[in-house]
Symmetry: D2
Subunit: 345 residues, 4 copies
């Protein structure tokens, strides 16, 4: 059994992680930590566990103390709050899978600019592997620190990676228009996230300056070797879960549907969590799953291509991919614990 | 492997059944039938199965022809449409689990009055067992035909059964006020069920004459031996899934919280799918599960008791309970295939 | 022009009031107050006013200072927070219309028990008139302080008042099962009211002890002269607005539909804001309006009657009724400013 | 009083029109027509009118017969179903305001290609004026036939018109990513529009081939004199009303925020229904109104600009703009009957 700790277990991503890990046959959750709920039983916060699971939350201090008891620690925290823990875990040889942003940006300065916080151990960024499993699988196997990708990032990169890598679209003119369910905004008591503020509304936010922008550009730039420039606009949808990314590329040359199809098949044909569809993705068909549905359409009239991807922001966009990373690191079946399909409606 | 057929597989209850049975380790789904989608692949209707499950629908005729290939047939059809199939299955020794209403009412005349249709094989009603597992488990084991309870019925009976059976409340003055998610209205193209008609709305329907009324009264009457009279009012909630039943009883005598608690524990203390809670049930905590959450509160001021139960209308209220019945009949672990908890949010 | 001040203008009820009063041709809103947004322009909080209305919030102190400039002050505050203001307004002869609970309960002790706060000026309770317009219109005309009824209260009393007053149902056995949209929970940053916590969920709360209970009993008791006992259970619906009250009465004697219809016509036949329907009310048809839709059904089988009423919790259940009260007090057309119908969908 | 007829009065756009016109002080609605509800009272379909408005629907034949009794006929019908009526109205001098698509596309052949139906009176296309009020106001005054713009079209053109007209962005590289509430899908009983299919889902549709594409390109092309090429992708949001268009342009040269602001002010500074905002538009702030909220942000990093607009698809995107057109034609205050703000929440 792999022994794990979850730090930040009571937010939406953290509890999704707890949910998955509790059903993972090779895992034992040794502790869960949540600074605002120390001593509170998880079932008091999440009634789905009532009468069945009674694990209590500990604090950050306890989480650090108990590093010796675990093989891997998952972090589902706001950025900039776990530098110390990561360093201690790393030194003890405890694998770190960080669902936050602290180790995603290769350049510490850029991180500090976008996230407006000082990076306390920039030397560990080099140790970290960007945990987008389908693209970095080999590096992940031997990693000590996983920078688990952001939700929008996962949907966006997976959609555009084949086109960028194969030089199909102008990498200087990519546009990604995406929308997310409200769980992406987290589980804190902000007026903006109240039911009455979100329901019957649709809005953009973070226009031109959302923090997932540099992450997407960084990874797509690696794919093609030339600086990629994207416009990224996230929107908030009155639903709990799901991300849809609608991506636009300007074709560098004439290509056929079959040629593009072949490229996606080449990159993703063997991937268990990517479904290349002939219809357009809908968030409901991947809800609660680790799947990423992708399809595309060439617009010959305008010389462009539209690629659409759908994921569950809490699963493939957070906790599910974190477990997928763990499975890779520990040599398990990559789909262990995350092999379910969506339940409808 | 138990070989099963599903007739009416593309409605919301039918596809929930298909979803569960596809994940049931002791089951092979030999065929699915849907009169309006003959030849259509289930993944064209439910994109959650895309690229993964390719089973095609057959018609009612085919479903009858293939009875020889299966051990049990599940029916998820409108009432009055499967008399012929049930008769043929019964004669061939194929177990029948009917999610519809045709065999729930003991008295054929009463059925015909409430459902406004002629019963074609009333002699089979006697053969049928009312499949409320927690109450009729022993009879279910040896049954050939299971009349799987209605969704409101399951929530209502489970809530009030202990109080009625133990003579705690006046059986002539029961009131059950319940509310359901919209999947309970089925998957047909009615204007009343359009998003814009249901969203941002709350309404009662079937006031004093909903068809689940005689079913609830019949089973509660059996529990206490005296005719039970209920007022039952269902409501429609703008959400996909879930039923909450708020039940009111007039106490026949002074009782304490502990006494009532003991009665519920006596009846349900060993039930895996009933959770007796100290907080009030919410539909989200049982969503997607076969659980029934129950709690109660005595109102000393008025001499009454309020009991609240929550289920997922498509699972414990339909497909999940059908599978629970199958598990009982075939001697499997009763929770096989339906042992999951709710995913939040 | 009637000069008004609104204290607590940025909560959901307060802003509804502001919306209505801004469109009221006989009213000038002299000031709005909100302790957490002093100096903030209302359009920064409510973007519907952007570029059009620029009024800034003042604080409680300012609201008291400026009492001399207004004819009537509306309070949309939590209970127990405006005793001082009310007293000062009363002494200055400024009419008070209080959307909160402080002057609704005739007995100060009972108030203190249910609301868990000391009443600072119980002598003013006697001065206050319970502002349920259809029932207390005459008293309202000459009142100085209006205790504007609660939202659930309005729907519940209007539904049952004719039956109770005319001795049709057993006043000791009334049951009221009601449900509300989420704006009823207010506009504060509580986790329980986040979109992801409310959406796809339905729950009861305040079971047997909701604070609207004594208010309903008090007013219905006045109607029949004998103590009325109700069970009242509110529920939370994933929608923004609306209350539906499903009320159950045990008939004292045989009555016909026509007899009951006549009683409702007698009580409400001339009321502009009550619509007696032949179909069952739905919250959407009164959304954004000051209407109360009511219909009933006798259940001869069980000797009971079900009455269902629907209102908009923020309008007839709060701000609209407050304006209706103001219109009565100032001798205006009772429907001035609140004469719109619902917009669908 | 202007005497009007509404043909197609029971769909979502038609009833919105009816709602507005019933409150318009210069209008008398002489008849409403709806082929599937002949003889049915509007309040049976829309309970908001219960007990208050009793107008009955007539059929298409009656609508044509009664042309002599009206000054203007509004059409809220599917495309291709009212050629005959339009011709007869035109000949009789009855003004036509068509909310459908039949007279929007200048080139009949193009219409026939995109809409897959034969145009029966292409000679009338020339008579028709494209009724985007803010841009074509002068022509509208003297028109006989108004081709009222589509919902997505209105939001898209208003957002991009100033930039295209002033040559700020590359007209060959425009991308418009938009999302709509579900009322845009109409009020017919399609499974795709059921609550359970739309709720908790987000999807794109009509990718690269939505019928509003040629309409947007046509009008923007007129604005700059050079062919405009857009990629347009609509999405479906689980809400009733609202459209948000997120538009991307590649800047032809360096411009400052102030320069762009000045251009928008120049074009729209005096428009009563356009609000130029400093924050980003949200659909809720224009819900139920004829307003179009617009704001923009220059992305210097990528040399692009993002413009976001929000409207209510049924009001400014359909019925409200139709009334605005009528007001212009008949020389009324342009905001008569459509001068309300959004009600929140």
């Amino acid at each position: 059994m792999i022994k794990v700790g979850i730090v930040g277990a009571t937010g939406y991503a953290g509890q999704q992680l707890y949910y998955i890990l509790n059903n993972h046959k090779n895992v034992e959750v040794k502790y869960i930590s949540a600074h605002s709920s120390v001593g509170v039983c998880i079932s008091e916060l999440y009634g789905n566990y009532s009468n069945i699971i009674q694990q209590k939350c500990i604090g950050m201090e306890g989480a650090i103390e108990k590093l010796d008891e675990i093989d891997v620690v998952f972090l589902a925290l706001p950025h900039g709050t776990a530098f110390d823990l990561v360093e201690k875990a790393y030194k003890k040889g405890v694998k770190v899978i960080d669902l936050g942003a602290d180790y995603r940006i290769d350049d510490a300065k850029s991180y500090e600019t976008w996230y407006n916080v000082e990076h306390k151990n920039p030397e560990l960024i080099e140790e970290a592997v960007y945990g987008l499993c389908e693209i970095n699988r080999d590096k992940i196997k031997d990693s000590s620190i996983i920078a688990n990708p952001g939700c929008y990032t996962t949907a966006s990169i997976l959609a555009m990676y084949p086109l960028i890598k194969h030089g199909i679209v102008d990498e200087k003119k990519v546009i990604i228009d995406a929308a997310s369910g409200t769980s992406g905004a987290g589980r804190s008591g902000k007026i903006d996230n109240l039911f009455c503020e979100v329901n019957e509304n649709y809005k953009a936010y973070g226009v031109t300056n959302h923090r997932h922008t540099p992450e997407i550009e960084q990874e797509l730039t690696k794919a093609c070797g030339s600086e990629v420039l994207i416009s990224f606009t996230p929107h908030l949808v009155p639903m709990n879960r799901g991300i849809l990314a609608t991506c636009y590329g300007f074709l560098k040359k004439d290509v056929t549907h079959e040629e593009i199809k072949a490229i996606y098949e080449e990159e993703y044909g063997n991937e268990r969590f990517i479904r290349l569809l002939d219809t357009f993705p809908q968030t409901r068909w991947v809800r609660g799953t680790n799947l990423c549905d992708i399809s595309f359409k060439i617009d010959e009239r305008t010389g462009r291509i539209v690629v659409i991807s759908a994921i569950d922001n809490l699963v493939k966009g957070a906790a599910g991919q974190a477990v997928q990373n763990m499975n890779i690191i520990f040599g398990l079946d990559e789909a262990e614990g995350i092999d379910n399909l969506a339940m409808a409606p």
